[in-house]
């Protein structure tokens, strides 16, 4: 998907455990995003980054943290996974913020049991 990869593709974890999802890009894009996608809700923004070490919250950031130590990597961490965080998570990248399209990764399907 245009130089963006997410890992793992699938994960099952237990309630209360920490989980980290990784997004890696080879496009050198400045902006990176984490979304979750659930039936009936569409894509909802969790966190985004506008540069190395520069991040901000989205509309559903509670229970999630992110880090971006390098341009190419954007990590999403669930500090203590809950069943409500069972979802499909998508990473997206963009050259600039605003009136410009995003390129999405293939997604990570996370199940919290």
């Amino acid at each position: 998907d245009a130089g963006i990869t997410q890992s793992p593709r699938h994960k099952v974890t237990e309630t209360g455990t920490p989980v980290t999802l990784r997004c890696h890009q080879t496009e050198n894009h400045r902006y990176m995003y984490w979304y979750r996608q659930d039936p009936g809700h569409g894509l909802r923004l969790i966190h985004y980054s506008y540069g190395v070490k520069d991040t901000d919250k989205g509309e559903v950031s509670d229970g999630y943290s992110v880090s971006r130590s390098k341009t190419e990597d954007f990590l999403l961490t669930l500090e203590s996974a809950t069943s409500s965080q069972t979802s499909v998570y998508f990473c997206a990248i963009s050259e600039r913020q605003g009136d410009y399209g995003y390129t999405f990764g293939s997604g990570t399907r996370l199940t919290v049991v």
Binding site: D1, Y33, Y35, Q37, P39, G40, H41, G42, L43, L45, Y48, G58, V88, F90, Q97, G98, D99, Y100, G101, Y102, T103, F104, G105, S106, G107, R109
Partner: protein, 113 residues
């Protein structure tokens, strides 16, 4: 994946017919719009975009129409093919040089052979 299509409006068309998918956007100040296609188990894929200073834009087999008066966006797919079966959703940008895209919930297109 498959769960993305649950609870969504569905449009069912015959192969070879034209499809029209509609989207009502929320902000009259939005200046940029995108249509994405999402196939089962994959990430959203950019189809076509349009800026608010345009009413119509054409791509390969696809046309996007923008009616700012009623805040309505439509995607027309000519000669619909089985490979067009997917969830389609629009996104809008309303923050000038800042701001993130806001995504609609989507419409599921089903093409009957």
């Amino acid at each position: 994946g498959e769960s993305v299509g649950l609870h969504l409006p569905t449009l069912s068309v015959q192969e070879g017919d034209n499809s029209i998918i509609n989207c009502a956007y929320s902000n009259s100040a939005s200046d940029y719009f995108i249509w994405y296609k999402q196939e089962s188990g994959k990430g959203p894929q950019f189809i076509i975009d349009i800026r608010s200073n345009m009413d119509k834009r054409q791509g390969q087999r696809v046309t996007v129409l923008l009616n700012k008066t009623v805040k309505h966006l439509s995607l027309q797919i000519a000669a619909t093919q089985p490979g067009d079966s997917a969830v389609y959703f629009c996104a809008e940008h309303s923050g000038g040089s800042q701001g993130n895209l806001i995504f609609g919930k989507g419409t599921k297109l089903s093409v009957k052979p």
